[in-house]
């Protein structure tokens, strides 16, 4: 009995000191109940036929440290990739016989308004070098809105300027406003109480729409025929956004 008591006496303090509790540091940069204003620039990645650059202005409100909402207004510069231009050029170099189906995923983003919910379950820190701890918040974002889209075909030309060179003076173009769904995975890297660097990977999805069975000869005479694709699918655009957020 005495031996057991002695053993317990020996073990108890050792156990207490073997894993001392680290001090619990309060959240250094709470965002609950704060308004934020952010500006970000973005570029599209994994481009096939179109490429996009964006400029966002984003207003947000954080209900708590892990839940907030954002409204984003986006202006975009977009265009065809070199691959899309080559596809169009090579097609025009062939004789205008029969019909052609237009390609999918050619709608280009021009402007967008998005609203969504930001869920930020992760708050942590890492050390950038020995003396620079960075506090961050990781978040998932889900929302939707409206996108202003333009489309320039690479298969339907209304005025072939050179068959040999494969150049077109008037590609078939369309415009529309479409609903868009967006999801994002992002980080707020706090630089202080009033600001954070924003880095995120954002996905934009909208329904595609294009023509099938277009008579090439008629189109080159200015009469675009054909029918809408019955199941056009969805266009998926991935953007990397980088910006800065101010907290008020």
């Amino acid at each position: 009995m005495l031996a057991l008591a002695g053993l317990a006496g020996l073990l108890a303090p050792v156990r207490a000191h073997a894993s001392p509790e680290p001090p619990v540091q309060p959240r250094l940069y709470p965002v609950a109940g704060r308004f934020s204003l952010a500006a970000t620039v973005g570029i599209s990645v994994f481009d096939t036929l179109t490429r996009t650059g964006t400029l966002d202005v984003r207003a947000g409100w954080d209900f708590s440290d892990w839940l907030g909402v954002d409204v984003t207004v986006t202006d975009a510069l977009s265009g065809h990739t070199a691959l899309a231009d080559r596809v169009g050029q090579h097609l025009l170099q062939t004789p205008a016989e029969g019909t052609v189906d237009d390609l999918s995923d050619l709608w280009q983003l021009k402007a967008m308004v998005l609203g969504g919910v930001r869920l930020a379950p992760v708050y942590g820190k890492f050390n950038l070098g020995p003396d620079l701890p960075i506090r961050f918040q990781a978040y998932l974002w889900l929302g939707g809105g409206a996108a202003w889209l333009d489309r320039t075909s690479v298969a339907i030309c209304r005025n072939v300027t050179s068959r040999e060179q494969g150049t077109c003076g008037d590609w078939f173009t369309e415009s529309r406003v479409a609903p868009v769904v967006s999801g994002a995975l992002g980080f707020r890297l706090f630089t202080g109480v009033h600001g954070a660097v924003v880095l995120e990977l954002r996905n934009l999805v909208w329904k595609d729409d294009y023509l099938l069975g277009v008579d090439r000869a008629a189109a080159e005479a200015g009469n675009v025929s054909g029918h809408r694709a019955p199941s056009p699918g969805f266009t998926n655009t991935v953007l990397v956004d980088l910006g800065y957020a101010f907290f008020f």
Partner: protein
């Protein structure tokens, strides 16, 4: 493996991780401002299986693969990884199929080469470690960066799947593969890890041989096919004539000869990227 490599491996296998904490018994220790790393990595071995790796951002080809990564952690922040991979689904991308069917254009042969299997080795650097609070718990993680090289077996699609028969492929040989990537490694206790990495497998070159046959071999074989029978007489020893004989799902493989000859004669080179998302589950020994 060299003698030196074997010695390093044996030493590593015999070494025990040093987890001794000099302050563990100190009666003067109340709080730790700098918290020690609870799970040591140095001189330990980690095996990570990424069962399903989808390629992202593909243009002309699509790869799905499985990868097994062995990492020897030489120190807490530096390791060496060896990673065999097997591509169990490689085919023409939806975009490439659309190009072919709608505007009758095909990607250049050099841009259509696909990885089949391979292995890469790379030093791994873990410059950042941290922890975060999530759903009431604490998760410890590290950022890992790696870059290295290896080899990969490649192939090219000769015929798309259609009513005539299944898709057929020809080997385009072993190629050097460069790799680079970054990701997060989360430790779950002393034994288990979860990794989420983005990795690029880069290979490059031209299509000069298909199934070991160069343009001259393929011309000879194609002439034999036109004459009636592919005998394989007069071609180089490296040329695998059997790959162009017999049938596949009712499709006469000799019909691939014309396509193979056209692809080898195309010329041109390209650098191809297979960027994948690797979600892996690991055990540390």
């Amino acid at each position: 493996m060299s003698v030196l490599g074997a010695l390093v491996l044996l030493t590593a296998l015999g070494a025990a991780p040093d987890a001794a904490d000099p302050l563990a018994g100190s009666p003067n220790l109340q709080f730790r401002v700098v918290e020690p790393k609870p799970f040591a990595d140095a001189l330990r071995h980690e095996l990570v299986l990424s069962p399903f790796v989808p390629q992202v951002g593909s243009t002309f080809t699509t790869h799905w693969l499985t990868s097994l990564t062995y990492t020897f952690h030489a120190t807490e922040w530096l390791g060496l990884r060896i990673q065999p991979f097997w591509v169990w689904h490689a085919q023409r991308s939806r975009f490439s199929s659309e190009l072919l069917s709608r505007v009758r254009q095909d990607a250049a042969a050099a841009s259509s080469v696909m990885l089949h299997w391979g292995a890469v080795a790379a030093p791994e650097w873990a410059p950042l470690r941290g922890k975060f609070a999530a759903f009431g718990g604490t998760v410890r993680y590290g950022l890992v960066l790696f870059a290295g090289a290896g080899v990969g077996q490649t192939e090219i699609e000769l015929k798309t799947a259609d009513a005539v028969g299944p898709a057929t492929y020809g080997s385009t040989g072993l190629r050097m593969v460069a790799t680079g990537g970054a990701g997060f490694r989360v430790q779950l206790g002393d034994r288990f890890t979860v990794r989420l990495e983005v990795q690029d497998l880069i290979h490059w070159g031209s299509v000069s041989h298909i199934n070991g046959c160069d343009a001259t071999d393929l011309r000879v074989l194609n002439d034999q096919h036109t004459a009636g029978t592919v005998t394989g007489a007069g071609v180089s020893a490296q040329c695998t004539v059997g790959a162009f004989q017999g049938t596949a799902g009712g499709y006469d493989r000799a019909n691939d000869l014309g396509i193979a000859q056209a692809k080898v004669s195309e010329g041109g080179t390209d650098t191809l990227h297979v960027v994948g998302i690797y979600l892996g589950f690991g055990v540390e020994l």
